[in-house]
């Protein structure tokens, strides 16, 4: 709630300053009309620039990505092995329990 109030206060202050600039015409009125859009576009550009600079500077944690990849391979392989080993037992258990009315899974 406090964050929203702070943000609203900033927005009101900026629009009040823009309206004041419009009325007293310190800079010419043509510029003042375009000022909000100019700031929004430059903010977007600044965000893109930060993203580009971040991509260039910091390597995207290649060791961690590598380890994660290996861990995922390992887990997939273990699941596959377990499935192959236990498939017969699973089928047996299902055929045993289903006539007795036990809920035997969702696939």
């Amino acid at each position: 709630m406090k964050h929203i109030v702070k943000i609203m206060a900033v927005v009101v202050a900026i629009s009040a300053s823009w309206l004041g600039l419009l009325q007293t015409s310190i800079v010419s009125q043509d510029y003042t009309w375009l000022l909000p859009i100019y700031f929004i576009v430059s903010l977007g550009c600044y965000g893109l620039l930060m993203v580009g600079i971040g991509l260039m500077q910091f390597p995207t944690c290649p060791q961690e990505a590598l380890l994660l990849q290996q861990v995922l391979y390992l887990r997939f392989f273990c699941n596959l092995l377990l499935y192959i080993i236990l498939a017969e037992d699973i089928l047996e258990a299902k055929d045993f329990l289903k006539p007795r009315g036990v809920d035997v899974g969702s696939d």
């Binding site: 100019y38 576009v41 990505a65």
Partner: protein, 91 residues
């Protein structure tokens, strides 16, 4: 497998850096073009040759507004698509 993973890592890193470089170059060029268009161009005489490199100034408002609206539409469509997909998976 480790050898190919290591060379993959290096090409991934250089690809990332190339994308970052292109992105920052694009943002800087957009910013400088837009700044020149909005702020510097009205200060030149109307028959100066540099005016023919820039579109008429109404487009300086239309193009960002259009791009913003397109971005919001794309975001809404993406969110709707993801929501539909998750609902279908649940049902």
């Amino acid at each position: 497998m480790l050898q190919s993973a290591k060379s993959n890592k290096r090409t991934m890193e250089s690809a990332d850096r190339a994308v970052g470089f292109l992105l920052s170059l694009l943002s800087l060029s957009i910013f400088s073009y837009y700044t020149f268009w909005v702020i510097a161009l009205p200060l030149f005489y109307t028959d100066h040759f540099v005016h023919k490199y820039f579109l008429p100034r109404e487009y300086a408002i239309l193009i960002p507004v259009f791009a913003g609206v397109a971005l919001i539409c794309f975001l809404c469509m993406f969110i709707g698509y993801v929501m539909l997909k998750s609902k279908k998976k649940k049902a």
